[in-house]
Assembly symmetry: D2
Homo-oligomer: 341 residues x 4
């Protein structure tokens, strides 16, 4: 298989590149970037010195990429709104596409318009694409040509939470979620807010009360629960490079801790990238740094009769590039862990 | 007034020292520390070079301090459990005492025993002492000899939340609080968990589900609401030195945003150390760094019909030493802001 | 005195603003910024909430500022090359000007052209201006209209080193200087290199081998030594917000430690902003954080027969805004420490 | 081959563990730690979840380890002074030993006593052991039973510098070295100096003027130059977890840049773990983070007629555990890069 990465200049693109260069089953043949075209991968990402094998960035043209007969699967690591311009021609020309942007994560074009402020440019492609968290999504997604890799916040939330709704362990009310993200989650944006001196020694909530990832989280929870789920989600920005910690509070569940663990252990017990920790063990982003793992655990608070779940992941790995490669592995019949351990 | 600090070797002690050295109305005559006795303040805290005026640490003996005729008011910056051994003899000898520990923050000895695992050593002193957040606590606290300065998390929570309960803007149900604290909040403890390499690039929840500060928060909320309030509180540790950001979610309040702001503006509008920010402005710990200010704002989420409050403070200032000096200022008839701007 | 700050949107400007708002002797009447004109100081720098007194940014027009009869002294916190366009008209209209940029730091227009790549726009003003480190510069500088405040690296180097040359304690050969600077030293530049994720967890040398500050350092050393001094200077960028640590190695001095300390103690013993530490005590940037102090000490290495000096300062205080205010204080006859302690 | 790690609780031990668990050629059979005996590797280092394969820490007894017939090669990740108590019995029982401590790095017992303050406990073993930087050390070291892996600072210095002396590109005079190290370089020590709040936002020189690593650096340079080399070495502590940046200034070399690069390219051109960067490219610790690579480049300063070299490595990889495994690979006939890419 010949693999391409379109838009590889950002943080997710860099991690995709680094992982795919060492992947045992594929050949990374194309890496594009408008701004970096002509430069070698090693010169742009000196972290990859001695590993880039002469690979160079090429220009990013949708039609040209679609016409490339040697390209079998393409990762899109492009800004939201730009990815769709590539996804459609690539899919039409028969290539597999894994899109790391938010362009095809939603099923509903109404919700898209509500959160993104404009109609979806290709609404009929929303149902032709699949939103895939490999450990959760029902089989059959492999039949699509276009896979939307989930966002970083959603992954940290849906992995522990969705099975509880699907199995009626909780009824979907009273869910409050607070997440803390490292700065790479914002991408490599030249904005004052992301300068070193502005983020160092600082913590703040942001994106109140309708962060775009909320649309994706609620749609998935609603599909799983087969009824409308509305949650409270507040993201925070903290001074680390990589990592998301999420704390989920579910009010008035009664003591469903054992039932929750049964569902999780059944579903995730054999999964290589999900660690269900014993109640009382706390996930920490440092333990999942640069791994494709998500760690989580839960506690029951008898005082409030509520369930507490805390999770940790690397936002660029299980939250972006790592999970995208995991999807590729399963889609193409490779070992699920190939290139990821 | 001659002022003493007992146990000035920790982070709160250092800030107390730094602020009191420049305070216009008092004389800092005594600074004690078992481990630092004999050393000069400037050698221990080189930050204070050229400001320490020859002051030296002396030994910490409760009876000796109590017998010192030149000492009018004493700050206790001691570990929980140790402070009470000093507070009683100092109070008995007629000195004013401001205790930064948790020893006298609770009214109820039952709650104390529940959270601290042993009976309170001086339960009858719990009612002789006052828990004081100057902007909130009812007048009359000045008549006590012993003042308990609030904890860092409680201050960041009670300042915005307590008036809403007192004024029946909210009914006290559905309160979920997530706080993120800098590492100095844990004190200057020699434990692996607080080493640079362990906390840098890491974020985690801790203290689930019954952090000790919870007792103090709920008791105050319960007193204000005149009914039992039970909340969900989850603290997190993040890699900054100083600062606490708190996010409070209150479910199903209906749109009480205007009423909340009216109460806050009425109560805090003229207060020098509380900034009620417009809805939509986000507090950030960097903006309150090294100030005695707490910044907070609120938003109404029509989707969930819930109220969201976010606050930020410097845990060593408004969350500890700064607020303790603010208490002294009011207690002794100085300008509220003396030594704090 | 009515004071103005031109170009107050950067890091030095912010510190100037914060310090001047509380300065006991002056009135801060004008704060300009092309990009921020019309906004209030408190909204741009929320750190200053409750302290800005309604002050607003105005536009930056050299002629308009020069014509303002109510402006007595102006700080220029502008990029290099821009400052001179303001300095000349302001001086000509009779105002005192303290320029924090590099535009007038050199005496020699040849050296300026060599380091900046183009002729100095106002070469005859180079001799009408004075380069002032208050503890070092000879009396008489007060008679100028235009004062160039020194750069951050030069201050950390010249304070310990210059007196040794002036007093022939060392002969000026074999000087190797390595400095480590926090990221604010680069200013508030929107460049990828200064994004949080790029600087966090990173250290590197930069500006080899002819950093612009070198011109200023060598010119001052040469003037003091009355012979040409050539040094090796290598700056490094490290992940802290504020602070410069400098290590100076002087080869083959023989044991001149006592003589060096005699000169320093004689010159700096009574100076409020210079702490000459005992040999063996190590300066640390954290001890000078947010102070206008420079701490330094020296050691003699008998193995190499060389002298080692290490210094630490806050690059935005003694390295920029603090020192500029110290200059104003002395120039205008205020207490040297006014507004700085 | 069955491999053991003795004293695996520290930072180097953790990296050794992580790398050896995935090494394709060996079996990690024994991991010891006095304090952690009985615990599973995964519980102590949650980073290794799902990778530890049930491995548990066992007690550290020299004789017991020496008597273990299934142990072929042992890494000692012990404090200086303790390692030798294990090294001798293990070697005597026929096992290969790679010692990461400083116990056997010197050839001269006189220098050892000078720097460590007491006689070497096993001076005759100093010549039976080899100090090995694989890219530099002459063939034949493989015949020893005991290999001393170099220190972190020495590696960052000797790789670029030693060949210049060996090939008479420089004469060995005028060498000034400044290094900046991340905090993990100090090990996992419970000392106030290494607490998060003490190191965060701080930079300082330390270990003036006779840091212990100096003995090892000078001895190696002296052996290479065949005359006594004396250098100036100043280490600094900076707030990053991992990484060392080193700046080497060599006075009055004349323009030997081309000759230096010829030697380096000849020696290191094909080496997988050394990147000789073009003059003008700056090494950065972030580019070698978690790699076993050292990056370096050089510049000639015509003003001072001096040579400047800057290097960067990960102190726990090429500066400790990574290089130790590289040594094992070469010693045991595996691919040099096995387990390291």
């Amino acid at each position: 298989m010949n693999i391409g990465i379109v838009g590889a200049s950002g943080y997710s693109g860099e991690v995709l590149l680094s992982l795919l260069l060492d992947h045992p089953n594929i050949s990374l043949s194309t890496v594009t970037s408008r701004t970096l075209a002509g430069k070698s991968v090693e010169s742009v990402f000196p972290h990859l010195r001695n590993r880039g094998g002469g690979l160079k960035f090429t220009i990013s043209d949708p039609d040209q990429l679609a016409a490339d007969p040697d390209l079998d699967l393409v990762f899109l690591a492009l800004p939201h709104g730009v990815a769709s311009e590539y996804a459609i021609p690539l899919c039409k020309s028969g290539k597999k596409v894994i899109d790391l942007s938010a362009d095809f994560r939603l099923n509903s074009s109404e919700i898209y318009e509500d959160y993104y402020g404009h109609p979806h440019p290709f609404p009929n492609w929303l149902e032709k694409s699949a939103y895939v968290i490999p450990e959760i999504t029902d089989d059959g997604w492999q039949n699509n040509r276009l896979i939307a890799a989930p966002g970083c916040y959603p992954t940290s939330i849906l992995v522990p939470l969705l099975p509880l709704l699907k199995n009626n362990i909780i009824d979907g009310s009273g869910i409050v979620i607070n997440s803390m993200s490292g700065v790479s989650g914002a991408g490599k944006k030249l904005a004052e807010d992301y300068l070193y001196c502005e983020r160092n020694e600082s913590v703040k909530a942001y994106g109140l009360v309708k962060h775009r990832h909320l649309s994706e989280i609620e749609e998935q929870l609603t599909l799983a629960a087969k009824k409308e789920i509305v949650i409270q989600f507040t993201p925070h920005l903290i001074p680390i490079n990589r990592g998301i910690a999420t704390t989920i509070t579910i009010a008035n569940t009664g003591n469903c801790l054992n039932e929750a663990y049964e569902v999780w252990n059944e579903l995730y017990g054999e999964k290589p990238f999900i660690s269900v920790l014993e109640s009382g063990q706390t996930p920490d982003t440092k333990y999942v740094f640069q791994t494709n793992r998500i760690d989580f655990s839960a506690t029951y608070d008898p005082r409030t009769e509520s369930l507490l779940i805390t999770s940790a992941e690397d936002n660029l790995m299980k939250g972006a590039a790592g999970q995208a490669i995991q999807i590729m592995n399963l889609w193409c019949g490779y070992e699920e862990t190939a290139g990821l351990l």
